[in-house]
């Protein structure tokens, strides 16, 4: 398998404070990769650096062999790297369908004149995008709520909406920031199933997650970050047994991370 997303020694510093130092990661095409680590380890900073939200201060990022270091977030998104946010950011005053349609923006083709004149091409394009958006809402189990405002969703539903919205971009790689944080076991099971289905569609998934049942259950490989540095990587059972990981989580105890 070839690498679809790689970082070469990326570092991020906020005014002298180093949040990420020299992290090199290779994401293989078609895998489910988890990034774990204690709070403040730099996991979300890593996502921000890769997607251009806060460009890395050193190092380089490659997507499908092309360098994307320092590109703007919308350019990175259009190149096929979609993300969800840990602190949910739904478009609260828009309906679910409209939320997902925003993700379709980069696939829409009608221009301003066609929009103003309501040409047949406009109607066809709009219908095509809405059809796709409805499919995605159905995929995450929200089709019944498509006309509701996003602000009236429950916490779990918002998380699902974020995933549907990111998928609307038709990305090559999907970055999920804590997709099951705060969810109950039933919901977690649903998301696990969902992530597996996303992978079968040929989308590579990179996720940050604390829920070890989920991480150990579906990850092909795991990277562990601590204090902005990569301290371990490998298959789930290798990482579980790694003494540096146990130390990072439990401060030198003898128990493996369970949650």
């Amino acid at each position: 398998m070839s690498d679809i997303l790689t970082t070469d020694n990326i570092s991020v510093a906020f005014g002298g404070v180093s949040a990420l130092s020299g992290v090199s990661v290779e994401v293989r095409e078609g895998e489910i990769l988890s990034i774990i680590g204690p709070n403040g380890a730099g996991k979300t900073t890593f996502f921000n650096a890769v997607t251009g939200t806060f460009p890395p201060s050193a190092g380089r990022v490659f997507l499908e062999g092309k360098e994307i270091t320092g590109k703007k977030p919308h350019e990175v998104a259009r190149l096929g790297l979609a993300r969800s946010f840990q602190n949910l950011k739904p478009f609260a005053e828009m309906t679910l369908l409209e939320n997902v349609l925003i993700g379709r923006e980069s696939h829409a083709v009608t221009g301003m004149l066609a929009t103003l004149l309501r040409t047949r091409a406009f109607a066809a394009d709009e219908e095509r995008q809405q059809q796709k958006a409805r499919e995605l809402l159905a995929f995450v189990g929200l089709e019944r709520r498509q006309e509701s405002l996003a602000r009236n969703l429950t916490y779990g539903e918002r998380k699902m909406l974020e995933i549907a919205r990111a998928l609307a971009l038709e990305p090559r790689v999907l970055l999920l920031d804590e997709p099951v944080a705060g969810m109950n076991p039933t919901e977690t099971g649903f998301v696990m199933e969902l992530v597996r289905k996303i992978r079968t569609q040929g989308i590579t998934v990179v996720m940050i997650e604390h829920d070890m049942r989920m991480v150990m259950g579906i990850s092909d490989r795991i990277y562990v970050l601590d204090h902005g540095e990569l301290i371990a990587s490998g298959l789930p059972h290798e990482v579980r047994a790694n003494h540096r990981v146990i130390e990072a989580y439990l401060g030198g105890g003898k128990h493996a991370p369970t949650h």
Partner: protein, 382 residues
């Protein structure tokens, strides 16, 4: 909870008092009556807000109107077209000016309402449009109105783009201050560029437009002309709102970071909304120039910018029909309050405060109300 309610109440009574005070005409004896009226109104507002029947009724009306949109629009248009037949020339003048402000408010709504960018010097674009028409048709008499009209829009749009490219890199309040500066710069330029703009004396003798043998001369004819332009502008804005452009603007307003993460070029969409706003404002300015026949820098003060902004806020931020409603309220109502001219600004202020406290989504939050109703029924069914 109760603390919040108390401040709510205080705001309400204070605002209402400010509104009623001018009507007392200095007679202290009326004070108890005013207090009683304010108290009663407060009780009623609370009752209306809590009574399920009334809330449902309001939602029902809004939903019904939203469902019969075409009928509602046809009715409003019919009334608007027929109005001049039953109005005095004076009233027609007032209504025409309301129409121009409605175009301005609809234009400003694109940036302030939809994209969430606060623009404080919006009248600058209006001025650019008006002066472009004035200079082209009267001062140097280079072309007729029908050529000058689109050119005025384009001139304002160009200003919008030139201002937007550096300014839109700023955020929030900083951007607002830059646009405030723009409005003032335009006015000062107009006052001092004597050769081009006639300085403080302005430009005289701008002719009413003519179309072949017809001249749009009578107040009534000009009213219809302005109405037609407004209808076109509102149609254009409404169509943009219900398309990927409008969705992208609203998404940026709701959350810029998420919009960017979904592949939306925030800067370009900002610039697009900004320049479109400016274009429509320029068109309105051109109409203003031919309506008045005379323009001077005095017509384009900061006060006008604030007035247009008030219209957008009053009608409901991001609401297409709301901006038009706001414009009519703020232009036509004060005409009925002529005797209280002194207090007008006071009342304005009080009304704005009251609106921000009680109806932050403006007079017509129709879309939101209708959606809320749908959601509640969903929840009930589940």
């Amino acid at each position: 909870m109760s603390g919040r309610r108390l401040t709510h109440d205080l705001f309400f009574y204070l605002g209402m008092l400010l509104i009623f005070l001018p009507f007392m005409g200095g007679k202290v004896a009326y004070l108890p009556v005013v207090f009683a009226a304010v108290w009663g109104l407060g009780r009623f507002v609370r009752f209306a807000g809590e009574n399920r029947g009334i809330v449902r009724f309001r939602e029902g009306v809004v939903t019904a109107v939203a469902e019969r949109q075409r009928l509602a629009i046809a009715l409003i248009l019919a009334v608007a077209v027929g109005l001049p037949f039953v109005s005095s020339n004076y009233l027609i003048e007032v209504l025409t000016s309301a129409l121009l402000y409605a175009i301005l408010a609809s234009a400003l709504n694109i940036t302030v309402g939809l994209t969430g960018v606060l623009v404080l010097g919006f009248i600058g674009f209006y001025a650019v449009g008006a002066y472009t028409t004035g200079i082209l048709t009267a001062k140097f008499a280079l072309c007729n109105f029908w050529v000058a009209l689109p050119l005025s829009g384009l001139a304002a749009m160009l200003c919008g783009i030139l201002l937007g490219i550096p300014a839109l890199r700023l955020k929030g309040d900083y951007l607002a201050v830059v646009t405030l500066g723009f409005g003032e710069i335009v006015r000062i330029f107009l006052t001092n560029l004597d050769r081009l703009t006639g300085g403080p004396n302005g430009i005289l003798g701008i002719k009413r437009p003519s179309l072949g043998p017809f001249t749009i001369d009578q107040p009534r004819e000009f009213y219809w002309f302005a109405l037609a332009v407004l209808a076109l502008v509102v149609l254009a804005v409404a169509r943009l709102v219900n398309s990927r452009y409008g969705r992208a603007w609203i998404a940026i307003r709701e959350n810029e970071m998420a919009a960017a993460a979904l592949g939306i070029d925030v800067f370009r969409k900002h610039l697009l909304s900004f320049s479109l706003s400016a274009f429509f404002a320029g068109i309105a300015g051109s109409l203003f120039a031919v309506k008045q026949g005379f323009i001077s820098p005095d017509s384009f003060t900061f006060y006008e910018s604030v007035l247009v902004l008030c219209m957008v806020v009053l009608g409901g931020i991001g609401n297409v029909t709301g901006a038009v409603t706001g414009a009519f309220l703020l232009i036509v109502l004060p005409e009925f309050l002529r005797e209280f001219a002194m207090y007008r600004m006071l009342v304005f202020g009080a009304v704005m405060v009251a609106f921000m406290v009680f109806r932050p989504h403006g007079l017509l939050g129709s879309r939101l109300i209708a959606r809320e109703a749908v959601d509640r029924e969903d929840a009930g069914a589940a």
